[in-house]
Amino acid sequence: MAGDHIVRIRKLEKSYVEGGRRHWILRDLDWCIERGEFVVLLGRSGSGKSTLLNLISGIDLADRGYIEVAGTDLGRLDETGRTRFRRRHIGFVFQQFNLISTLTVLENVLLPLELNGLLNETTRRRALGLLDRLGLMGRERAFPDRLSGGEQQRVAIARALIHGPALILADEPTGNLDLETGREVLALLDSLVREQGRTLVMATHSREVVGLADRILTIRHGRLEEWSR
């Protein structure tokens, strides 16, 4: 077993049947991601970036193939097992922020801690510190719908990182933000992930990211192609 891989994928296949016809999204895909890497996933709209991230996080099921994340074979876990695994080991950032509108900023960030049974005074202080880092000091009692898009996305980043997951999956995190704000958010995400030694896989259209990434891959016709700079 070569290197310290946090994700290993072998012969992954995913397709949808629509109108009686089968569309292959991912086909015979092999991939390994090293711990601590910042990987960017490029590809045209509809190429299967989101699908691939969903398979890695276990919220979607592959037709065939092997996926191992942080040493766990996802295929051998049942629904509950995958859920437990996900809440411990994976952080999410989405284009649509997906904050819980009925929880305040701070409560949104504390939620993963609570789900993992890690909520206490120390972690609470850590959450406040993180919000501070993300420039949200003073907004922790606000509800998400009172924040701007950039602010919401920063809350989402805090929520994705707070419980120290090994793998962070970001699906077009800057898709809803303007260029400048997008850059800021990316820079924050990058520096935080690197500080904490996490692995980040980001699907995006934005070429801005390219400069920050350790590796860049493109999905085309259901397969991954390594991009060399």
Partner: protein, 833 residues
């Protein structure tokens, strides 16, 4: 425990407090109606039992005989060692104001052993009073209430008319307990005999005999013409008599709970749909399915507990009201009932609460499972929500069909009541599940029509109903159930009333009816009176009927002994009959039985039935089963000659008088009244009797009517809440429309058009479903509980009431959101989720 998760869920619930309130209202009403009905029914029987004890004390047996018992039997009984016995004389007298009052003669010393409540709880009946009671001729006691109503005071001389004579009674004291709604005077036995002119005769002798062997001894010892009956059976008999009536009330109150449960289902399902996104995020962040399921069910349990608790409290309040109505009905239709007080046993409250909680949890099961199935991937992937909801609609339609089939099977398989009610529930659920499938095609038609009439904007309401089928489908189903229940209840009651009226009109073929004045079980009249009536010049013919109540091992039954002409006999309608000629069979000594009797005992025309007679048990052939809507355990009807052969009874309950054409009815009435000097008569013409009967019928259905209005109220709120939820939920979408330039007026039109469309569809679907419900209710309540088959017909008034209710609720539900949206700045609406 996960406080944050709970907080997230709760806050989103509290975002729509009115929605919670309405769900709560559903539970509260459902539980309140069931609890109130239970309490009222229970209390009525308890009151009856108390009155029974108050009047008779703890007698175990009663000896009675047609025409009374000679006093000497009482002494002989005591000599035989039956010392715990008491003589009883009962009769009626008419007071100066013409009111009929019951006069009861007792022997105070003998009463002691029986300890009737009125004797113990009467502080004013002191030693002095007892002296006067025993020694003074004409001394009577009465209750305060009777005295107050008649305006009597202690010491008053009360003139009463008995059998053409005037006697004077003296009121010497009050007893405290209200023993019956009937006015009663209590006198010493000698006084009563004297006043009633029944020297040396008793109406009955009551006994306390605990030992079985002694009872058998007594039975052998008594001569044939004396009947020994168990006194406990008074309450048993009340229970038996009211069983069917009670089942009817139970069924209808359970129906209210069912509608309430639908309201709960509707709300919980809605709350789940509203929070789909929340559930998806929570699942994404790592909440397991089971945790979500438990969360939603937990909410339901919390809601159900609060609702049930409030419902039980409301039930006690409502119970008082229902009891007052019920007591009147029981009084008019079944037995004299004293002023009833609400008796509140804890177990009934517990049962009501448990039912409410159970209904809530069951109603939330499907939405809870649905919530737990939320896939986090719907947040990311292109969501196929609409296709999902289409598939769900198809699945629900399939399940609905299965439920309907299951309902039909259950209905066909079982003959009892429970299976009938289960079938009814299954059918209602099945139709509810089918309803969402009907929405899209109807909306397609409306869209086309709207477009034709008003252009693109006109097509929008129908389109948006279909577009959010996952929500509108639930609303439509809830609406349909509510409206169909209303239609069903109305159509059951009205069809029943029609059937009874038709039946009475047919059966009441005589011109005048003559019976003893009074209330409750009326005194019989001598058969000889018939000859005197027939002798009147304007009377063409006289028929008669004698009613007897019998106690048998299989329960109570009534014997009707008829003396009638072939023409009067022809007014009977047959449920089934043998191929023997009915009239000839009747005259030959075969019997006919009422439908209720046949059903209860599983008998058919051509079978045989054994009845106890004073000459021992006798077996009769049944030549037909006849249509009869009398409340009770059923009737065995026979020719009077046959009856006399076995019962040696020459009394009659009612004479039927047929007049020659052109007779002066009023004049004849007066002459008839003058014919009987001993017993005051009551004479009614057939119209008055029909009216009276229908009044009693309506009285019997007052409670049912109230239940129906309660169910309708729950239904209305259900419809209102379903539609309101639908609209308020869309504020964001409506905000977009406003932002795009739709005026508040146009928005208002859109919203109201939408709710009205939805209300209209549901109301339409509710018409056939409501008819089915009405038919099933008639099957369950009338056929299976009472043993009556109705002629079931459609009544447009009941049917149209459905859509009217739905559309009215829809309009009402459209107003608030329209008003709110028109006032909210679009930006605000766009911001909130």
């Amino acid at each position: 425990m996960r406080p944050l998760v709970i907080r997230a869920g709760l806050r989103s619930l509290l975002h729509h407090p009115w929605q919670l309130m309405l769900a709560l209202f559903g539970i509260v009403m459902g539980v309140a109606v069931v609890t109130a009905m239970d309490l009222a029914k229970h209390s009525a029987l308890v009151s009856f039992e108390r009155a029974q004890v108050a009047l008779f004390g703890r007698a175990t047996h009663r000896i009675g005989a047609t025409g009374g018992i000679s006093e000497s039997w009482y002494r002989r009984l005591r000599r035989e060692g039956f010392v715990q016995s008491r003589p009883l004389v009962e009769g009626t007298v008419r007071t100066g104001s013409g009111k009929v009052v019951k006069l009861v003669g007792i022997e105070p010393l003998a009463e002691r052993a029986f300890a009737p409540a009125w004797l113990g709880a009467s502080p004013e009946v002191g030693k002095m009073v007892w002296r006067r009671f025993l020694l003074e001729p004409g001394a009577v006691l009465t209750s305060r209430r009777t005295a107050a109503e008649a305006g009597w005071r202690i010491g008053d001389q009360i003139p009463v008319r008995v059998a053409g004579r005037t006697e004077t009674l003296t009121l010497i004291g009050f007893y405290e307990t209200e023993i019956a709604t009937d006015p009663v005077l209590i006198a010493d036995i000698a006084t009563a005999q004297e006043v009633l002119g029944d020297y040396g005769r008793l109406s009955a002798i009551d006994l306390i005999v605990e030992d079985r062997a002694r009872v058998e001894e007594l039975r052998r010892w008594l001569p044939d013409e004396m009947e020994l009956s168990t006194q406990v059976t008074a309450t048993d008999s009340a229970r038996q008599m009211t069983r069917a009536f009670y089942v009817n009330l139970t069924a209808l109150s359970l129906l209210s709970l069912l509608v309430g449960a639908f309201l709960i289902y509707n709300t919980i399902a809605f709350m789940v749909v509203q929070r789909r996104r929340l559930f998806a995020i929570l699942r994404l962040l790592g909440l397991t399915r089971r945790e979500i399921l438990a969360g939603v069910l937990g909410e339901a349990v919390a809601l159900g507990s609060v609702g049930s608790l409030l419902g039980v409290v409301a039930g006690i309040l409502l119970g008082r009201f229902l009891l007052s109505l019920l007591a009147r009905t029981l009084n008019d239709v079944y037995f004299p009932l004293p002023v009833a007080e609400l008796d509140i046993p804890g177990w009934l409250l517990f049962k009501g609460g448990l039912l409410g909680l159970g209904a809530t949890v069951i109603a939330s099961l499907v939405p809870a499972v649905e919530a737990s199935r939320t896939r986090p991937v719907t947040l990311v992937a292109r969501s196929l929500q609409e296709q999902h909801s289409r598939r769900r609609v198809r699945r629900s339609a399939l399940a609905g069909t299965a439920f309907l089939l299951a309902g039909a099977l259950v209905l066909a398989a079982g003959k009892e009541l429970v299976s009938g009610f289960v079938a009814l529930t299954l059918a209602l659920l099945g139709c509810a599940m089918l309803t969402p499938a009907i929405v899209p095609p109807v909306m397609a038609a409306c869209r086309w029509l709207g477009f034709r009439l008003f252009g693109p904007l006109g097509a929008m309401p129908a389109r948006s109903v279909t577009a959010s089928l996952s929500r509108t489908g639930i609303a439509a189903a809830a609406l349909m159930v509510a409206v169909a229940t209303t239609i069903g209840m109305a159509s059951m009651i009205h069809n029943f009333r029609d059937s009874v009226q038709r039946w009475l009109t047919r059966r009441l073929d005589a011109d005048l009816y003559v019976y003893a004045a009074g209330s409750g079980e009326r005194r019989p009249l001598p058969a000889a009176l018939g000859e005197r009536i027939a002798a009147l010049p304007q009377v063409a013919a006289v028929g008669s009927v004698r009613y007897r109540r019998l106690v048998t091992k299989a329960g109570f039954l009534r014997i009707n002994a008829y003396r009638l002409s072939p023409a009067a006999f022809a007014t009977f309608e047959w449920v089934e009959r043998t191929d023997r000629d009915p009239w000839r069979a009747f005259r030959r000594g075969e019997v006919m039985v009422s439908e209720a009797f046949a059903r209860l005992r599983g008998l058919h025309a051509g079978d045989r039935v054994t009845i106890p007679t004073p000459r021992g048990p006798r077996t009769f052939s049944i030549f037909a089963v006849f249509v009869d809507y009398n409340a009770g355990r059923g009737i065995v009807a026979m020719d009077r000659r046959v009856y006399e052969r076995f019962w040696r009874d020459d009394q009659v309950s009612t004479f039927w008088v047929y007049l020659r054409p052109g007779s002066d009815v009023e004049q004849i009435k007066t002459r008839l009244a003058g014919l009987s000097s001993e017993i005051p008569l009551e004479i009614r013409d057939n119209r008055a009797l029909l009216q009276l009967s229908m009044r009693i019928f309506d009285q019997a259905f007052v409670v049912t009517g109230v239940l129906r209005w309660l169910a309708t109220g729950v239904a209305f709120v259900g419809v209102f809440s379903a539609l309101l939820a639908l609209q308020l939920e869309r504020s964001r979408e409506l905000g977009v429309l406003r932002a795009l330039g739709m005026t508040p007026g146009q928005l208002w039109g859109q919203i109201v058009a939408e709710t009205t469309l939805l209300g209209g569809v549901s109301g339409l679907v509710a018409m056939p479903v409501g008819t089915l419900m009405g038919w099933l209710l008639a099957e369950v309540i009338d056929r299976r509980a009472f043993g009556w088959t109705l002629e079931f017909g459609l009544r447009s008034g009941d049917l149209l009431q459905g859509p009217a209710l739905a559309v009215a609720a829809a309009l009402a539900a459209g107003l608030y959101p329209a008003w709110k949206m028109a006032r909210t700045p679009p930006a605000e609406a766009l911001r909130c989720e």
